[in-house]
């Protein structure tokens, strides 16, 4: 039997240990945030948000240059991706959680996990084969499809676990007042797990927003704004992670700084979408 004093000592050691670990995990994150911010803030100005990138000479001769086309492109491609991934991902998650006896589920679960573990660049290849090849050119749409495939397995899994968190008795209570099964899912189970669902979708979104590899041969990249409106979906488009990469490997110091600034915008984009989603699902009850 340990003495009370010793148990208190154990308690203190454990708390110190946990606190240390927390700090250790957060430190790299803070270093990244601060470093990106310090390096890139100099390039953030009005031009950055209003001008296109153009050729390298623009930056080198000090003419106004920016990434407006990249920011718009990112919004378009990510919006397309989430529009495509959401119904399929939520649908698969509902199927896995609510119809556990369905014959297809074991297969679907394995395929979903495989898809989740597949390198993102292969998903780009898939979108290239499915969209770019038949349509005859690089497009924002194909980038959206590639990112949707990145999001899909994450959304499916997180939806499944969010719905599983709702006690089974709640579903039975719904059935017991004579509601059809789909009604119970749509009106009782899904609203009850809303916060979990949105968090899962956000994690998937945040993951896809940062992906550059699947976009290399789908949305391809572009130094200019699209010349026509539909060009944002049917022509080659620029996106932040991919632009960040190409700016970083370019030989021009001015572009390096633009790359850091692109990093700030990308981070800001993710943080803002998290904040908005949090406000939207704020628990009323």
């Amino acid at each position: 039997m340990k003495t009370l004093k010793r148990r208190y000592l154990h308690e203190k050691i454990m708390i110190t240990f946990i606190a240390f670990n927390t700090v250790a995990v957060l430190t790299p994150l803070i270093i990244i945030l601060v470093y990106v911010f310090v390096q890139g803030i100099g390039a953030i100005n009005l031009d950055f948000f209003t001008q296109e990138l153009g050729s390298p000479s623009r930056a080198m001769t000090g003419r106004p240059t920016g990434l407006v086309h990249t920011i718009i492109g990112t919004l378009v491609v990510d919006a397309l991706a989430i529009l495509i991934a959401l119904p399929f991902g939520i649908g698969a998650g509902v199927m896995l959680s609510e119809y556990p006896d369905h014959k297809l589920n074991p297969v679907m679960r394995v395929m979903n996990d495989t898809l989740n573990g597949m390198p993102a660049v292969l998903k780009g290849l898939l979108a290239w084969a499915l969209v770019v090849k038949p349509m005859g050119g690089f497009s924002g749409l194909s980038g959206g499809v590639a990112l949707a495939v990145v999001m899909l397995p994450i959304i499916a899994r997180s939806t499944e676990s969010a719905l599983m968190n709702i006690p089974w008795s709640i579903r039975e209570a719904g059935l017991a007042i004579g509601l059809p099964r789909w009604r119970v899912i749509a009106s009782v189970v899904i609203p009850a797990s809303k916060a979990g669902l949105v968090t899962g979708v956000l994690i998937a979104f945040a993951r896809a927003v940062g992906e550059a590899a699947p976009l290399l041969f789908t949305s391809f990249g572009n130094n200019y704004k699209s010349s026509y409106l539909l060009g944002w979906t049917f022509g080659p488009v620029d996106t932040l992670p991919q632009r960040l990469y190409s700016l970083a490997i370019s030989p021009y110091p001015e572009w390096h700084q633009l790359g850091w600034a692109a990093g700030i915008v990308l981070l800001f984009f993710v943080i803002v979408s998290f904040a908005i989603a949090r406000i939207v699902v704020r628990e009323k009850y």
Partner: protein, 278 residues
């Protein structure tokens, strides 16, 4: 001592009652199970249960844990349809029609056989108001006048109206456990079922809330038929008119409550009721 005197009181009342109405032909049959068995895989949950459920009477299902009383209850409104490896054999006649007949829609059946669970189950994101009318609103009844009326009627029926009438828009989850259970009852009553199935409705409640639910059962049997599963034999004695004793998945005895608790036909029933086993 209080418990005991209450039992004898209930028994006395019932004895006089049953003497008046003893011939079951005076009673109309609401529900009847015929050789009902529920199998999980290859093992029986309950086997060959045949009992009559009389209209506007309270029937209690008692027995030790794992004896199959809940399994039997859930077979009465086709809740086992959702259990992966459960199979139901035999038949359940509701108003003379088999609910397990082909082409019978379980959704329709469940509107006629409401259910109240062991733990209160208010729908988490809904207000008290929305909880009560969930069974109506979600199938397309939108008329506010009708819904308002149903809410008040059901909550009054469930003896909850006075406590919540000023805060119908607050979440159902904000009520106390006992109130949540009465809300669950109100929600079940809102769709006007013929039969109310109660699966240990008071086992997660404090004694005061338990008393309120029991009083409620007494009132409710004027309008609905009630089947209640209970671990608590005193409760069975207090609230029910008929009692079925289950043991190891089989029905040992079905009798009027007064007879069962005074001079049971079966030795095992007597042993169980006097605490010799179980």
């Amino acid at each position: 001592m209080i418990e005991m005197s209450r039992i004898s009181k209930v028994n006395n009342v019932n004895i006089t009652n049953t003497e008046k109405i003893t011939p079951p032909k005076d009673l109309s049959l609401r529900l009847e199970s015929k050789k009902l068995s529920v199998m999980y895989g290859s093992s029986y949950g309950v086997k060959d249960i045949s009992i009559p459920i009389y209209d506007k009477k309270v029937t209690a299902l008692i027995g030790p844990s794992g004896c199959g009383k809940t399994t039997f209850l859930r077979a009465l409104n086709r809740m086992h349809d959702l259990t992966q490896n459960a199979r139901v054999k035999g038949s359940v006649l509701l108003n003379g029609k088999d609910i397990y007949a082909p082409k019978v829609d379980p959704v329709v059946i469940r509107r006629k056989l409401g259910m109240v669970f062991q733990k209160p189950t208010p729908f988490p994101t809904m207000s008290i108001y929305d909880n009560v009318i969930a069974g109506l609103k979600l199938v397309g009844i939108k008329n506010k006048l009708i819904l308002d009326e149903v809410v008040e009627k059901s909550l009054r029926h469930a003896a909850l109206w006075e406590e919540v009438k000023d805060r119908l828009k607050t979440p159902g989850g904000s009520l106390s456990g006992g109130q949540q259970q009465r809300l669950s009852i109100a929600r079940a009553l809102a769709v006007e079922p013929d039969v109310l199935l109660m699966d240990e409705p008071t086992s997660s409640l404090d004694p005061q809330s338990t008393t309120r639910i029991e009083e409620l059962i007494h009132k409710l049997k004027k309008t609905v038929t009630i089947i209640i599963v209970t671990h608590n034999m005193q409760q069975a004695a207090r609230v029910s008119d008929y009692t079925a004793f289950f043991y190891l998945g089989g029905l040992i005895e079905f009798n009027t409550t007064s007879k069962m608790f005074t001079v049971p036909d079966n030795k095992r029933t007597e042993d169980y009721l006097t605490g010799k086993f179980g």
